[in-house]
């Protein structure tokens, strides 16, 4: 059908009708005035991923038009990533949650009664009080992702909830934080303290910058390439980053630790390491030196498939540029269940390069401090947190163990968990073994999901609360310690199209229902924001109009005055870790080979696409136009042999007999023959996601097996094997 111009306009205005209805409310926003072209610009910060770049949203004729980076912001430098630029699509997404929903029928059936906010919050408050009465407030848990959950966290803490966890630890970057803390006495943090923009040699271990679109890191990666830095990429797949590399090491999956140990062997035996740094700041170097003497490149070749020559050349390249030489700690690093030790090995290679607090290595983040709001103290609990009873995993952070809470819910040990709040994370897709998650959900008296779009977790919820998207709400201040210290404000650009409410409003109303009014002494969030900003000595009006405030410049390298301090028990960089030895772990990382796939099976690897975030953006109609399904990458020689080609649809079956949705083949030379790869976040099974339902396959569905890291309790997820089923 050919559309007439008029017809097209009708269709477009129908799409935007929701926004138009609420125009009258937009005048509440005082921050920026409309110019003569009918364009209004509002500074805010992005929420399409956790990087939280400073942004400027454009409103044209009262409707959200486009979003650009805020040029003042050190994260975006005026340029958002493709997801941030496509954030507009979140506001207009027809699949959005529109009103509070209360389940009717069985969990997972996706049958709902549309409720008012009052009804939904009363329902939740009643159930919470019953759980508190029967089991105690500790029997409620919060799974939280992102800054938007801050106010809900506050309400729940005020209620007595202590079990607050985030998948960012046990399913993402936990091992590297612990590995670096055990070694240098400090976390890597987010945004990472990696000085990529100034490095002369960057090694990426399975980290696919460019596909993994952490804005500043990708900008800095391009800068490093422009500066002529040597790039070393270690990956079973020829990633985008591999295409930029001087050295591409096509490693056998799961053997990275062998490579790292042999790099250390070369650095030490060839005397290429920073002796000064190690002599001054190292601890236990002699035992370390003895232990790694066995890990020759010849030994590592057998494990990794990387030739001794390649190993020596890359180790020498790293050494040549030290200390402006960097082995990136990665971000999503829960792979094989020995991930803390691998991360510790990465930390130790960096220690040998002497790059801590040094230009081109790791800088010391310049700290930004904004006082907290003076709330009354939270009630104290006599119970320990349920995610890690008896300190089973001795090294965890306060983000806690999502899988620990799931386990406690299933076993009712150390005590029953009867209520889950899930904020901004699609737990069914973010945690391994979906069946375990569903079994745990079936033991609950209450599951509340708060999100902007439906997802698999909202489909299992008892109550779904629709949040306004980040472009429609105030939020907490994003306080950043980075090259410069700074803070960003999020403020509404347009109004929510339906019944959606900001997270702060939901948290405050719920607190009122629970008689916790004293914990919300402010009536409007702007009072809260103003208090915090003004008590830090800044002007709130300026914060709103510029979107950003800066702290004072601080030294970030040792030659600028940063003291080389290590918050380890020895006060030094621990080549030998007494802490690990005390708990019976290897004090110096030791190599354990991974299990090989059975014949006919491939190791399942997953990663990111630059145009999507987790399983949260597949219905965004702008980003969907960039990528609307995932593909399974398979080596083209193997594909030829089994008679499949690019564009064919197949299914994957894992070692436990789980069969995926049908998925398109990408037969390519860009991957080893012993593994397959797919982008995470597709293969949605929630019918409410009309724009993404059953497009592509879900890696999470196939990750039934996971290996727990005994040091920090994270779930290694690259331990599943799949075979290919032909689709008729």
């Amino acid at each position: 059908m050919k559309l007439t111009r008029r017809k097209f306009l009708e269709i477009s205005s129908a799409t935007f009708a929701g926004a138009a209805l609420s125009q009258n409310l937009i005048s509440n926003i005082k921050s920026n005035d409309t110019d003569e072209l009918g364009i209004r610009k509002v500074p805010t910060y992005c929420n399409i991923c956790f990087w939280k770049c400073g942004a400027i949203a454009y409103v044209r004729d009262g409707k959200l038009w486009k979003i650009e980076g805020n040029p003042l912001d050190p994260l975006s430098n005026g340029r958002l990533c493709p997801r941030g630029s496509g954030g507009v699509g979140m506001h207009y997404d027809p699949d959005r949650l529109k009103a509070p929903l209360i389940r009717k029928g069985n969990r997972g059936d996706e049958k709902w009664v549309v409720a008012t906010w009052d009804e939904a919050l009363n329902y939740i408050a009643d159930k919470m009080l019953k759980i508190k009465e029967t089991y105690g407030p500790e029997s409620i848990a919060l799974f939280n992702h992102g800054i938007g959950g801050n106010f809900l966290k506050h309400t729940l803490r005020a209620f007595g909830v202590i079990n607050i966890v985030a998948p960012s630890f046990a399913q993402c970057r936990g091992p590297r934080e612990i590995g670096f803390e055990l070694t240098f006495g400090d976390y890597i943090g987010s945004p990472e303290r990696t000085d990529i923009r100034n490095t002369k040699c960057l090694a990426l271990i399975g980290s696919h910058l460019g596909e993994n679109m952490h804005n500043t890191q990708v900008q800095d990666f391009a800068k490093a390439i422009e500066n002529g830095a040597s790039i070393i990429v270690v990956d079973p797949r020829f990633s985008i980053a591999a295409g930029k590399a001087k050295y591409y090491l096509p490693i056998k999956p799961g053997t990275d630790l062998a490579l790292l140990l042999s790099w250390m062997n070369v650095l030490v035996t060839e005397n290429l390491y920073d002796r000064d740094f190690v002599d001054k700041y190292g601890w236990g170097f002699e035992s370390f030196k003895n232990e790694i003497s066995a890990y020759t490149p010849e030994w590592a070749y057998i494990q990794t498939g990387i030739t001794p020559e390649q190993i020596r050349n890359t180790a020498r390249e790293l050494a040549l540029h030290k200390p402006a030489s960097l082995v990136h700690p990665g971000r999503h690093v829960n792979w094989y269940g020995n991930d803390t030790q691998r991360s510790r090995a990465i930390a130790l290679v960096n220690a040998l390069l002497g790059n801590w607090n040094r230009k081109g290595g790791f800088f010391k983040p310049a700290e930004m401090k904004i006082p907290k709001y003076p709330y009354p103290p939270y009630p104290e609990s006599q119970r320990e947190k349920a995610d890690n009873p008896d300190n089973k995993y001795p090294f965890i952070s306060e983000e806690g163990l999502t899988n620990g809470i799931r386990e406690a819910t299933l076993t009712e040990k150390p005590y029953p968990i009867k209520g889950w709040f899930v904020y901004g994370t699609n737990l069914i897709e973010s945690m391994p073994n979906q069946l375990e998650t569903i079994e745990a959900i079936n033991k609950l008296d209450l599951l509340v999901a708060i999100d902007v779009i439906p997802s698999e977790i909202t489909s299992w919820a008892d109550v779904v609360l629709p949040e306004a998207v980040y472009l429609e709400r105030f939020d907490d201040i994003s306080v950043n310690s980075f090259y410069l210290p700074f803070a960003l404000i999020r403020q509404p650009v347009v109004n929510p199209p339906n019944e959606q409410k900001p997270g702060w409003w939901i948290a405050k109303k719920l607190a009122e229902k629970l008689n916790l009014n004293e914990y919300f002494p402010w009536t409007d969030i702007e009072e809260y924001l103003k208090y915090r900003i003004e008590s830090a000595g800044y002007s709130y009006d300026e914060f709103k109009s510029k979107g950003i405030i800066f702290g004072e410049k601080q030294p970030i390298y040792d030659n600028e005055g940063v003291k080389q301090e290590f918050f380890t028990p020895s006060g030094k960089v621990e080549f030998y870790s007494n802490q690990l030895a005390e708990y019976g772990f290897d004090p110096i990382p030791r190599y354990i080979p991974p299990d090989d796939p059975p014949p006919g099976y491939f190791r399942l690897l997953f990663g990111r696409a630059p145009v999507h975030t987790f399983s949260q953006t597949q219905t965004n109609r702008i980003l969907r136009d960039m990528m609307n399904e995932n593909e399974v990458w398979i080596n083209s020689d193997i594909a030829n042999r089994i008679g499949i080609k690019s564009g064919d649809y197949i299914r994957l079956k894992n070692q436990d007999g789980i069969i995926s949705n049908k998925v398109k083949v990408k037969a390519t030379q860009k991957i080893r023959g012993d593994c397959v790869y797919m982008v995470h976040g597709f293969g949605h099974r929630s019918k409410a996601l009309s724009g993404a339902y059953m497009r592509g396959a879900s890696d999470a569905e196939l990750i039934t097996k996971y290996k727990i890291d005994p040091i920090m309790g994270g779930t290694g997820m690259n331990v599943n094997f799949v075979t290919i089923l032909m689709e008729d």
Binding site: I67, R79, G86, M213, Q219, A222, E226, D625, Q669
Partner: protein, 179 residues
């Protein structure tokens, strides 16, 4: 008259598609269509591979077949730096230009006219740069006047090796890829 060109550094491009997204919002490109796109070209055998990522679009050719073949006079070379444009009001949607373009740069907008990259002439005429160039997180895209020897684009083409797309078509394209 200026001669506008785009120079794209494939060494820096990570193929993230931000250029495509930014164009989409800037120019209200309807769902299901894009004015620019990414090409990922890989040669070699694993693990010895070479990859080039290219942000592609209308080449705003000096010798544009889409203009010559247009029966309505809707496709034209603008006096603004040689940008190739379509006058929506004159276009009948006959698709002759789509057939003539060797780059597949055009599509029929749901409203019924031929649409494509305009080098963001609405920004360029006010001294700005195309939205794709301004958004690129890797700073791999450059835009400017080839007739100005001091411009980024002229300097880069002088200093670096480059190629254009389908030069044998004789269209004299104005999008250059640094290699």
């Amino acid at each position: 008259m200026a001669r506008f060109a785009m120079v794209i550094d494939t060494k820096k491009c990570v193929g993230c598609m931000d250029c495509v997204v930014a164009c989409k919002t800037e120019n209200d490109v309807p769902e299901g269509f894009n004015r620019d796109w990414l090409a990922y070209e890989t040669i070699g055998k694993f693990p010895n591979l070479h990859q080039e990522n290219r942000s592609e679009r209308c080449n705003h050719c000096d010798n544009p077949p889409c203009v010559y073949c247009c029966p309505c006079g809707a496709s034209y070379i603008s006096s603004l730096g040689g940008i190739v444009l379509v006058d929506q009001n004159k276009c009948s949607g006959c698709k002759a230009c789509i057939a003539a373009c060797p780059y597949n740069a055009r599509f029929i907008h749901p409203v019924g006219y031929a649409s494509k990259c305009t080098f963001c002439e609405h920004r360029v005429k006010h001294g700005g740069k195309p939205a794709c160039v301004e958004v690129c997180p890797t700073h791999c895209m450059y835009f400017g006047d080839l007739d100005d020897p001091m411009s980024d684009v002229a300097q880069l083409l002088k200093a670096r090796k480059y190629h254009t797309l389908i030069p044998e078509a004789g269209t004299e394209p104005n999008v250059y890829y640094l290699i």
